[in-house]
Amino acid sequence: MIHRVRLSGAGHFDDWRQAARSLILQGAEPRDIEWGCDYEYTDDLFAAPSAPPRAVTGTLSVPRAFLTLAERLLCHNNPARFSLAYRLLWRLQRERNLLAQVTDADMCQSHQLVKSVDRDCHKMKAFVRFKEMDGEGARRRFVAWFEPDHYIIRRTAPFFQRRFTDMDWIIATPKGSAAWDGQSLHFNDQPQTRPDIVDETDDLWRTYFANIFNPARLKVKMMQSEMPKKYWKNLPEADLIPQLIRDADKRVQEMNNQTLNQTPPRFHQRLNKARST
């Protein structure tokens, strides 16, 4: 019997977990399940709507490490994530030490996907930029636009909650949004559009970025491997980069040439006098 499971949104972990549990308890083999979600819906696959998997009662225990792995795995944008996670779960019923087999093909693939999710999360924490919105309320309000590769908003939102607790904020992305109002986090799975907001403080940040850079130490490749170009369009400082690189040589030359004008400032002369008496 073929089971078709269509998860809502991008496929939340809890929904997958519930479906997977029932399926395992029914003894449904991995090859007999077709997984999908609203986001990656394809007509032919789900032409005939299917009944959600029957809720089956019973207990199923898995190593805790599997849960943390599967939770991250399901954030990936690879449509095969649901079946891969299910296959691991299925195999775990018989191969209890599967998770320790680092050279197993399913495990290798999982680790690869998880690594990419982790990196995406890290970059989101680094490169989200909040812009302030007008408002009269007691709390200040900010909004950010970010374009993650994977479905990581729910995963990273608690970080922003822990850090930006005293302000209201929304992080909008093409894969949904997260918002904090001082009481709770709210999620929306609908694709968002880029808000059009100007924050004057960005200008001070750009000033800082341009001046903290040392033109005598140009290492463009190093910068780009850590801050790939795909992020640049949403970073207020990034459009300064080409010019900074272009002018670096010139600025170093200028610094070297400046050495010749040599009358120390007056306060230096006063200090010297004070020191010698």
Binding site: F130, F142, M167, T207, I212, M227, V252, P265, H268
Partner: protein
């Protein structure tokens, strides 16, 4: 005409860029969920941007002022320099830090300063900034303060209550260098401050009898910076100074900063700037000393002038000078020896030790552990692999020489 905040930010960040450190890691974990305020630290720091010099921008790294009554030859802010001057009020620094933080540009503040009026006056203002951030604004992000030379011990102690990290710059690798290039600074006093700070950190680390809790005091420890290439100190001298600092004052980090051309440079300085690669090699050697069980003497022994080789890394350099110690058998060698193999890092060595409990390892297993087999294979023996004797290979060094375009870095 008074300079705008933006103009002063330009001057005072420009003046801070010669500082190598921007780290925001290694402090206690904390967040604002309970306080309902602003800020968190989560163990490893976050780089919020990268400048085209490849360096991580994690903190708002600025000077409170670049006016200075000292005249250190290597410094752009020395009193005899004609650089444009500016000063922030403490409130302005607090405002900038909080507003930058709210927009997620930064993890926190790294504040240093030129000396105005006197050391204590300057240090007091800096402490006030940190104190206001913490107490008035409930800020729980990262704060690094660079202490002012000759500031009183009680001010440094107060700074430690609010800062995650304090640094006291050693400036140059030798006392003679400091005396020559920083005539108003006293190496003995710098070391005394470091010693006092270490004692305070150690004390705070002892849980008190009453509360059994450790006092919060500079949780990310102390660090220092040394300028490379302004004086004639060799790499061996520099590394020995570092080793003394690590063991004597338990510093978290020694930063090396290749002396950089600065506008309006003092004529007391050498005209040739040191290659950036030299700084890189020093960091690698520092790493070998701290994490790989190397002595400083071993690292520099093969170089008669005490300078690290620029074209190959110090671990490879050591291995080539000690060929008789190889090959190392990855299936039986102990950890210390494995750590000496060029191309094997600490993580890999731990994986090898784990993996070889279950099977004899061959080159293909190393490849699976993401080791560059090409690089290590001359130095190891493994199941099904024995290298041609190293001593016989006159061309071994050439095999590792980097392609010429990388040398353009110099």
């Amino acid at each position: 005409m008074a300079k705008s905040l933006k103009d002063r930010l330009a001057i005072l960040s420009d003046a801070a860029k010669y500082d190598a450190s921007c780290a925001s890691s290694g402090t206690t974990k904390r967040n604002s969920l309970k306080s309902g305020g602003l800020g968190s630290t989560e163990g490893s720091g976050i780089c919020h941007a990268y400048a085209p010099d490849g360096r991580c921008i994690s903190l708002l790294k600025i000077l409170m002022t670049n006016f200075c009554i000292y005249d250190c030859a290597y410094c752009i802010n020395r009193s005899s320099s004609n650089v444009a001057r500016a000063r922030f009020t403490p409130d302005e620094v607090v405002w900038l830090t909080l507003e930058f933080y709210r927009r997620n540009y930064i993890e926190g503040l790294f504040l240093s300063s030129g000396i105005i009026q006197n050391s204590d006056y300057t240090m007091e203002q800096m402490v006030r900034i940190a104190k206001d951030l913490r107490l008035k604004h409930g800020f729980r992000g990262y704060i690094h303060l660079k202490t002012i030379p000759e500031a009183s011990a009680h001010l440094i102690e107060e700074a430690g209550l609010f800062a995650d990290r304090l640094s006291i710059n050693i400036e140059l690798p030798t006392d003679a260098g400091v005396e020559k290039f920083a005539p108003q600074k006293h190496p003995a006093n710098i070391r005394r401050s470091m010693g006092e700070l270490k004692t305070k950190i150690d004390e705070a680390h002892e849980p008190t009898l009453k509360s059994r809790r450790r006092k919060r005091f500079v949780p990310a420890g102390q660090s220092t910076q040394m300028i490379i290439g302004a004086d004639k100190a060799s790499d061996a001298t520099i590394l020995n100074t570092s080793a003394g600092l690590y063991s004597g004052y338990r510093l978290r980090r020694v930063y090396y900063s290749a002396f950089s051309p600065i506008p309006d440079a003092s004529q007391a300085l050498p005209l040739i700037r040191p290659p950036l690669m030299r700084e890189h090699r020093l960091y690698q050697a520092d790493w070998l000393y701290r994490f790989y069980g190397f002595n400083i003497d071993e690292i520099t022994a093969s170089q008669p002038d005490g300078m690290l080789e620029l074209d190959i890394d110090p671990k490879l350099s050591w291995a080539l000078a000690n060929r008789a110690r190889f090959p190392v058998d990855i299936n039986s060698a102990d950890k210390e020896l494995l750590l000496r193999v060029p191309g094997l890092g600490v993580k890999t060595v731990l994986s090898i030790l784990k993996a070889r409990k279950h099977k004899r390892l061959g080159l293909e297993d190393l490849a699976r552990l993401k080791v560059s087999v090409k690089k290590v294979k001359a130095f190891i023996s493994a199941s099904g692999w024995a290298p041609v004797s190293l001593i016989d290979r006159a061309d071994l060094r050439e095999m590792f020489n980097p392609p010429p375009e990388q040398l353009a870095l110099l």
